[in-house]
């Protein structure tokens, strides 16, 4: 406890010194923003937030500092405040991709997928050459339940990079939603050919096989996912379901007791 107090006192003294010596507000703002980013990178979000606030005190026109403040608030699960910070950043610079990304993530964390999707669509206008933006837009549409709309965005991501495994995986999810498990399996095999340790693809393979009533195959697929991540509760739960469907009740309950 005493150590923490000492550390805080030293930090405060340093801040006061800098406050006096830095002079120009913009430079001071920049300095505190950088210092805050360092603390953020070591997951010290509360103190990082203090420094971003200090940065904005000196220079409230620094869009980056607003984004960083939003990121720290988001990390602290204060989603409403983070939304306000990102909006501030956007009001200063509506071409700032990091602000739209943060906005989309914060809405998504609040399960407000309509607004998360709208923010993701804005990203496409800011930088349409970025495959990750198309993927994000696709995922947000999937979260809204708009799987066919998501396909278009994912195709755009794949036009930029045909081996973009995350986009191929998400396309497989859309295909499953459209009840096309054969096509989903083809896509998932494609993902696994690119990355044999893509656990989500094995898990989704299990789901696609279950849709076809191939329960033993599904169990094997979930086992492959669990070889990669033995404690993955989603795959464990899915395996329990597949065992139950396969009539292997005892093994299913064995697993249920360990979930």
């Amino acid at each position: 406890m005493q150590e923490v107090l000492w550390l805080r006192a030293v930090k405060l003294a340093l801040c006061l010194f800098l406050l006096i010596s830095a002079g120009a507000g913009e430079e001071a703002g920049q300095y505190f923003d950088e210092l805050g980013s360092k603390l953020y990178s070591v997951r010290n979000y509360s103190e990082a937030l203090d420094l971003f606030n200090l940065s904005l005190y000196y220079d409230s026109e620094n869009a980056d500092a607003w984004v960083h403040k939003g990121d720290a608030q988001k990390a602290l699960r204060d989603y409403n405040s983070s939304l306000q910070s990102y909006e501030q950043a956007i009001s200063l610079d509506d071409g700032k991709a990091s602000a739209w990304t943060g906005l989309s993530d914060a809405y998504s964390a609040k399960k407000d997928y309509a607004n998360a999707s709208a923010a993701a669509e804005e990203l496409l206008l800011v930088d349409p050459r970025n495959k990750a933006h198309w993927l994000r837009a696709g995922i947000m549409l999937q979260m809204e339940g708009n799987f066919s709309g998501a396909e278009g965005r994912l195709d755009q991501a794949l036009a930029l990079d045909p081996n973009y495994k995350d986009a191929i995986y998400r396309k497989a999810v859309s295909q499953m939603a459209a009840n096309n498990s054969d096509r989903a399996l083809e896509l998932l095999d494609q993902v696994l050919a690119l990355d044999g340790r893509y656990k989500l693809a094995y898990n989704a393979r299990g789901q696609a096989l279950e849709m076809q009533g191939r329960y033993e195959g599904a169990v094997r697929a979930y086992d492959r996912a669990l070889q990669i991540d033995p404690k993955w509760s989603l795959a464990l739960n899915n395996k329990m379901q597949a065992l139950m469907a396969a009539g292997r009740q005892k093994e299913a309950v064995d697993l249920l007791l360990r979930l």
């Binding site: 999937q142 859309s174 279950e210 509760s233 005892k250």
Partner: protein
Amino acid sequence: MATVCSAEETSYFDWKGLKEYAAKNYSDSLSYFDMAIAQDPGYLDAWVHKGDSLRALKDYNGSIENYLQALQRKNDSASALSGLMEAYAAIGDYDNAFLAAARLTGIDPARKDYWLKEGNMLQMLGRYAEASARYDSALEIDRKYKDAIYRQGLSFLALGNSSGALSLFEMVIALDPAHKLAHNAKGLALQAQGRYEEADDAYREAQRIDGGWNQPRINQMHVLMGLGRPDEAMKIAAGM
């Protein structure tokens, strides 16, 4: 006089340790229990309490050693056996956990929770029929013992008796409508009978009780696939 004072000191150290334990200062509590044991190695409670602190600190092997020390001094110490069972279970040694639980029921067969524990350890060993008999014993003592009814339901489910399981899960829910585990297990029993719409309702109820619990959400995803509603199923999957 000196002996009386020494005994007082021993129980004082143990009491101090328990206060630290209650405040979740497990490491600090250990030093008090050690002092009590150093003063009087025959002081059974200090060995048990030290075992409990080590277990809280996830030093399961250390805790087992201390419970065994307590049992050397009193081989029918229920608190030592109970701790021993929990420690063995925590390291996945269900054979020894079961043996400890069986000794507990031997010591005090009137305790319904001991029968429940023994049954639970048998379930972890996959011995569902034997577990079922233990739950029967617990229910003979208290026929409204919902934990035993729930676990009995799981045994029935594992043994392929989904209708028997379903009746038991419904009984638990009648006793405690907020029993989320029973709603989830009811969904599984209904699913096993192909009654997907009703299973969907059961999983929704479990989620209503605990919105942060993923298990019924995942189960619901499977039931929606079974109902031929893959778009709704994948909406759940997309958010996982």
